[in-house]
């Protein structure tokens, strides 16, 4: 007998009569089809405008810095300003996301734009988030050419652009968006929920930022 059959057999042996298997199968298929929502915290159920405010508040609480701009055209200026203020080289890495192409880079003549995945040599990376989660100030990032996963983790500074309309109250709303994009039961190769910059408390429980991932997370909300 294969290990698979042996393990499943051992589990089944504890599940009572084989006759109950039909009922059990029905329960499983129903749950997978219906994906019932559980408890949504009250704080995630705010009106839309307040959700964006809460998102910003929570993101800052968990160590991200925040900027709010009114159009995509202002993003490049904000990025340049961020780099300048921190004495960082004027260079960024980013993917092929169409929304990032409209960021007004043409006005930032000195900014070096690198495209494609990060090889660890970039100090700053820019990604576009799929969604934001207000209840925890979290950004949701989907892998792919538009926003390579390596940009989320290798640069010291991760700049995330997010459309205010994509900020939802709860995590569950993100699943609805992902299902719409990918189909039910399907996921991108990687989906990263990111809440603040990388950190560690492994030495004497002292919380330090910038463990292995980015030392800083800068979120730009486009209204």
């Amino acid at each position: 007998m294969s290990a698979r059959d042996s393990i499943l057999g051992k589990i089944r042996a504890t599940m009572g009569s084989p006759a109950s298997n039909d009922d059990r199968r029905k329960a499983v298929l129903e749950r997978l089809a219906d994906t019932p929502t559980g408890i949504i915290p009250g704080r995630a159920k705010l009106p839309k405008a307040e959700q964006v405010e809460l998102f910003c508040e929570m993101a800052e609480q968990f160590g991200a810095t925040l900027a709010r701009v009114s159009t995509y055209g202002e993003v490049a200026g904000e990025v340049s300003g961020y780099l300048r203020a921190r004495n960082l080289p004027a260079a960024i890495r980013m993917g092929a996301d169409e929304r990032l192409k409209k960021a007004g880079w043409e006005t930032e003549k000195n900014l070096e734009l690198r495209y494609g995945l990060s090889d660890g040599g970039d100090l700053a990376g820019v990604s576009h988030a799929t969604a934001g989660i207000a209840e925890t100030g979290t950004v949701a990032m989907m892998s792919g050419q538009d926003n390579p996963t390596t940009i989320n983790f290798l640069p010291e500074h991760h700049i995330v652009v997010i459309k205010a309309a994509d900020i939802k109250g709860d995590m569950e709303s993100v699943w609805a968006m992902v299902r719409k994009k990918q189909g039910k039961g399907e996921m991108p190769r990687a989906l990263n929920l990111i809440t603040g910059p990388s950190r560690s408390g492994d030495i004497e429980q002292t919380i330090l930022l910038g463990a292995h991932g980015p030392r800083a997370l800068h979120v730009i909300v486009v209204e």
Binding site: A3, R4, S6, I7, L8, K10, I11, M15, R24, V28, R31, L32, T35, P36, T37, G38, I39, P41, G42, M58, F62, L117, G120, E135, S143, G144, Q145, P148, T150, F153, M171, E172, W175, V178, G185, E186, M187, R189, A190, L191, N192, L193, T195, G196, P197, S198, R199, S200, G201, D202, I203, E204, Q205, T206, L208, G210, A211, H212, G213, P214
Partner: protein
């Protein structure tokens, strides 16, 4: 690691006089308890979410075979491979085979207790493959040749001076005048060293906090980002996870995520919660070429349908040990097993047998704080008691305890004899207590009087005194 659970007492006594350790253990109480409380208090739905999280896992366990099949189907459809391992040995063999096929020389590892359970590092090393732990705490203890003393804070037993010593010993490139006195400089040093290792590694191995049946995703929850670099940069990503990590849907995962980080570190969310589904796709610029999941049983299926089934709800947040007075006193290594603290005291006997681990479920005051904070509402004291019952049934309870108990039970079951013996014994004991009303040392009570005085009894027993009072009342009444 070598199982020394039954040397718990000796291990603990050593730990209690280890000044370095005792200093470090102060950080457990300082670092975790207040933060968890604050996070829980800030979410009015926290306790309701705990109930729901418990119910989700109970439902999953009652349908585990079917969810595992669904999960396997989805992983395969996403281009991943599922390997089933009945024992730790099987899992080690499977992982080694994958590494060999990839011609791996080094593998990076995200923090995972399951690979500790199957002693993967030793096995890989013995076969010429170098495992590199990348979580800061795991990296430190790997340098020291130690095992985690805590399931989410593996190096919590160490102080920064010890870490500096290890880095200076192993990182021979370090300049003598490089300042490593503060945690922040130690972290920078580890970051630099490990950065190179991610790129050099052929295979990245992680555990999983959840396996989602709906989508075939594995989920890791981390703060450092090392797990993500491990699984993104290697050519091959191997997930090692035990069968009870399954949850049905993304929604179910969200429910449990809401209690996980809050219970563990007091964060609302950990920094990185990553859902991985299969290998790199056609349009992907990055990600691993191969994606493998090793599904490990190693005794779990045998816990189903028994009084230990509830333990399979555990999400490894560490809250039980963070709140355990025994853990606070002796630290994680004293338990002499992979999983320390209250959850370990229940799980370890299931994995390794009660004969070799009987000390662990006994080493609890049953104060119940572990159960009170468990996000999955696992009745840990109750299950420790069940292990004591298994021990007692099999005559594994130490003879002194057994005979002492039997002698006591003999009287407890015979009220008349009890009253008679007590009426003779207690006045005598009271008399011996002398004017100080206490005992500094007492034969047969060394366990008590070594560290504390025994308050002397008042003299007559309550029942004697009561009977006398009632008799006097009767007389007065007549």
């Amino acid at each position: 690691m070598e199982l020394t659970a039954n040397k718990f007492k000796a291990n603990a006594s050593k730990a209690l006089v280890d000044a370095q350790l005792q200093k470090a253990l102060g950080n457990v109480e300082k670092g975790f308890i207040g933060k968890r409380q604050k996070a829980a208090d800030a979410l009015p739905e926290f306790d309701a979410l705990r109930d729901n999280a418990r119910d989700i896992k109970n439902h999953t366990l009652a349908h585990l075979d079917l969810y595992l099949e669904e999960y396997e189907r989805k992983v395969t459809a996403a281009g991943g491979h599922v390997h089933w391992a009945e024992t730790a040995e099987d899992a080690r063999r499977i992982v080694l085979d994958i590494c060999k096929k990839a011609n791996a020389r080094t593998v990076t590892k995200g923090k995972s207790m399951i690979t500790e359970e199957i002693a993967l590092n030793d096995h890989l090393s013995a076969n010429g493959i170098e495992p590199v732990e990348t979580d800061l705490g795991e990296y430190i203890i790997q340098l020291r040749g130690e095992h985690p003393s805590h399931i989410i804070a593996p190096a919590v037993h160490l102080n920064k001076e010890q870490v500096e010593g290890d880095f200076r010993r192993v990182h021979t490139h370090l300049a003598k005048d490089r300042d490593l006195t503060e945690p922040v400089s130690l972290l920078s040093e580890a970051r630099e060293v490990l950065r190179q290792r991610y790129f050099a590694a052929d295979v990245g191995i992680t555990g999983a906090n959840f396996l989602i049946a709906e989508t075939g995703s594995s989920v890791i929850v981390t703060n450092e980002g090392n797990g993500d670099l491990t699984q993104t940069l290697g050519k091959v990503h191997v997930v090692v996870a035990s069968i009870e990590k399954i949850v049905p849907t993304l929604e179910d995962t969200s429910q449990i995520l809401r209690v996980l980080a809050r219970s563990a570190t007091g964060q609302d969310m950990s920094v990185y919660t990553t859902f991985s589904t299969g290998p790199k796709r056609e349009e992907d610029p990055d990600g691993p070429d191969e994606y493998h999941v090793v599904l490990l049983d190693n005794g779990r299926s045998a816990m189903l349908g028994t009084e230990y089934q509830d333990m399979l709800r555990c999400i490894r947040c560490g809250a039980c040990m963070n709140h355990c007075p025994v853990y606070h006193a002796v630290g994680g290594h004293a338990y002499g097993s992979v999983y320390p603290g209250p959850m370990g005291a229940v799980l370890t006997p299931s994995l390794n047998g009660i004969d070799e681990t009987g000390q662990l479920p006994n080493a609890s005051t049953f104060c119940g704080r572990c159960e009170a904070v468990c996000p999955m509402r696992i009745p840990l004291p109750k299950m420790m008691r069940h292990w004591r019952e298994r021990e007692f049934e099999r005559n594994l309870t130490p003879a002194v305890a057994r005979y002492g108990l039997k002698a006591w039970a003999f009287f407890a079951k015979r009220p008349k004899l009890y009253r008679f013996a007590a009426s003779l014994g207690m006045p005598l004991l009271s008399l011996f207590g002398g004017t100080s009303r206490r005992f500094h040392a007492l034969p047969f009570a060394g366990g008590w009087t070594r560290y504390r005085d025994l308050p002397a009894p008042e003299g007559r027993t309550f029942q004697q005194a009561w009977a006398q009072r009632e008799a006097l009342k009767q007389e007065a009444g007549h």
